[in-house]
Subunit: 434 residues, 2 copies
């Protein structure tokens, strides 16, 4: 039997007997001839149905039925890829499909977001709907390849944890053999611990936030790309790695997901050789000088300020990326390293991309005594952190790291208005199925 080929391989087989398999993407029943447009994972193929009996069979095959087609590949400049299949025979591999609530073959699905999400396993068969997920897969591949090349080791840390640290309110509780456990909000403490073993580690995995907010940006479960590295001078070494990571992610999308870039109708951003950096205090001054706002004493950036700064970076540095360093220590997690040169400011930073905060990063504390002091200074008890603090008793190097929310990045990249559009099966306040 002839080996199955993909639609994109047809051109290399012109003149030969071929076998294709895929879905009935669309039927075109013209007066003199009919076409079966077959879709497989690579693209579309045009199958010419001239025979009357065959045509009658085709009329009974609804869109999305799975078929295997054999026939002869012949050149036709009007067909997709310049080759079509003639004199076809075909076999139905699955029962005729039931109709969907939308027409998949249209360039853009005409359906509401809830309809699309409920029918994700079918809606994503549309090339434009599927594109963000192909970009995400290529991006994660680039993330790992970049870090592998920089001497990082991949780790898998537990998602079931014994303490609700880090903003305990937004944590999911689990019945754990009669005890209480929690779903990890991040691999933060574990990746830091592993710096003591591997120096440089990364993890790609789910994180869980019991977010009661019903917004276009929040999910109860998302994919976090985490990295942490030891023996840093300060946060600047972390920023250097972030630059390499985004360059690697974007390059891999261009190389491995060119069709998805086209289907999404986007242009991939340039990543400058060095990411432009502005200090939090200078950022407030810049905004204040431009807008006339009195921002003295501000401890954080409002969304409008982030947008202003992004536009400024684009103008001043020709960059869609901007690092804001030196966020006030009081507004960052307790494990953030303060800036010894500027009291009140930390070595924590954010990356703004196209007007939005995309990732947070920092140099962290690395001394046991500093952790105890930082937690105590916030009026918190060290008890819930006790098992975590042990990690710092036996020699931890200066270190720092960052986390990228995969869905949020892909949404920003594709211009999706809602992060759910780029999440396979989103979980939120209302949605737990499919």
């Amino acid at each position: 039997m002839v080996q199955r080929i993909l639609s994109t391989e047809l051109a290399a087989h012109a003149g030969e007997q071929v076998r294709l398999a895929g879905w009935v993407h669309r039927r075109r029943l013209l007066k003199s001839v009919a076409f079966l447009i077959l879709r497989d994972r690579a693209g579309l193929a045009q199958v010419v149905v001239a025979d009357q009996t065959a045509r009658q069979r085709l009329e009974q095959l609804p869109e999305e039925t799975v078929v295997e087609v054999t026939g002869r590949a012949v050149a036709n400049p009007d067909a997709p890829g310049g080759v079509e299949v003639v004199e076809p025979g075909w076999e139905t591999l699955s029962e005729p499909a039931e109709p969907l609530p939308f027409e998949l073959y249209r360039p853009e699905l005409r359906a509401s977001l809830p309809t699309v999400l409920d029918a994700a396993p079918f809606a994503l068969r549309n090339a434009r709907q599927r594109a963000p997920f192909e970009l995400a897969a290529a991006g994660v591949r680039g993330f790992r390849a970049t870090l592998d090349g920089l001497g990082f080791t991949e780790v898998h840390t537990p998602k079931l944890v014994g303490y609700a640290t880090e903003s305990g309110a937004n944590v999911f509780g689990v019945d754990y053999f009669g005890r209480r456990a929690y779903l990890a909000q991040s691999p933060q403490f574990y990746k830091q611990a592993m710096v003591g073993v591997f120096e440089r580690v990364y993890e790609v995995g789910p994180v869980f936030r019991a977010e009661p907010h019903d917004t276009a940006r929040h999910l109860a479960e998302y994919t976090s790309l985490d990295a942490e590295l030891g023996f840093v001078r300060d946060h600047r070494d972390v920023i250097g790695v972030i630059r390499e990571v985004f360059a690697g992610m974007i390059d891999t999308m261009a190389e491995r997901a060119g069709a998805a870039v086209a289907a999404a109708g986007i242009t991939l951003p340039e990543v400058p050789a060095e990411l432009p950096v502005v200090h939090f205090a200078e950022a407030l001054e810049l905004i204040g000088a431009a807008t006339g706002e009195d921002l003295s004493g501000e401890q954080d950036l409002a969304p409008a300020h982030e947008r202003w700064l992004s536009a400024w970076a684009e103008r001043e540095h020709g960059s869609e990326w901007l690092i804001v360093t030196g966020y006030p220590t009081a507004k960052r997690a307790f494990y953030t390293h303060p800036d010894p040169a500027r009291p009140g400011y930390s070595r924590g930073f954010d990356l703004l991309f196209r007007g939005l905060e995309l990732i947070s990063g920092a140099q962290r504390l690395h001394r046991y005594a500093d952790y105890v002091a930082a937690i105590t200074a916030r009026g918190e008890s060290i008890e819930p952190y006790a098992s975590y603090l042990e990690f710092f008793r036996h020699g931890m190097p200066p270190h720092g790291g960052f986390a990228i929310g995969l869905e949020r990045f892909v949404a920003r990249l594709t211009g999706a208005a809602n992060v759910r559009e780029v999440t396979l099966f989103p979980r939120d306040l209302h949605r737990l199925t499919p």
Copy 2:
């Protein structure tokens, strides 16, 4: 300032001023001279301390203190890598470390498993303890590279699910915004759904089993390497991919984690060009003929039978790997495709490796009506599966897949007696911290 180099790069810098950073692995205080053995992520470096003042400082630096050392690299055939560092100056990057309950520098840690697990962030600094995790990282990299090369797409499916399908007893319950949710026991249904979108998908992620068994093989959370592919003839196409995947994993371990292979003291297995296959019914006959047991009517293989079959595959086929196909349909998950040619037997299979079942795989059902029939025939209600069954209403190709338990595989590879030895922070009936 001189750039930091790794211990393994010293040889390339003989005669130069160098900077190293790492942990005080061991001190050797001899009469005439002292040595500081420095450990970094790449290996060990010998630092010669001849000066008396420096020696007194070294005596105050406990093992595992983090230091940065500058000095001159000079050739010495007796030093690790043939080069040592002389005339050192050093700086302590972290407070002197507190003593650990074991001596890390010994080739094998002298500590019980619970002690090692409680102190994982330190115990794994020992090269032999760390090796399985370096093998795991390389193995997962090989898994992905192999599947990327075969046209698979990586997906991220939800771990929070609305229904406790698949053996509901062993599932963890979650408080989900006042509702009941569950932790996914596998990405099974989601990866099948995504075959309808991408044809070939894989996922690396955590799975959760509320296993009340306190054994050396069971974990409440482990890393599952899942793959699923469409347009298969039958289970044999799945087995073909499994062969490629294991070859890729083992090759990548050899290429990328050679030092870990040496530290673990193991030999990596050969993966034959084709995995030997035996049918369940023939397997029972072989065992019965050899042992005299009456195995007629057996529906599963006992551990002793798995060991016997593995030894048989080694003798007959020179293979540490054996595929057993055709497990009785009644003993497999309801979504397993039956074998039309042998009633009562399925297209589900196991892979035995070194006497142990390592993975399960199968061709799955792909027609909606077949699912309804299979679930009904088992006396179950289709209600909990309703949202899942929708996946099969709109054209699903014949497909199949498999899942590899990462920790179980690495344990088998390294000869670990307990799967916890190769899990960073194991979760079980008793263990929820660190």
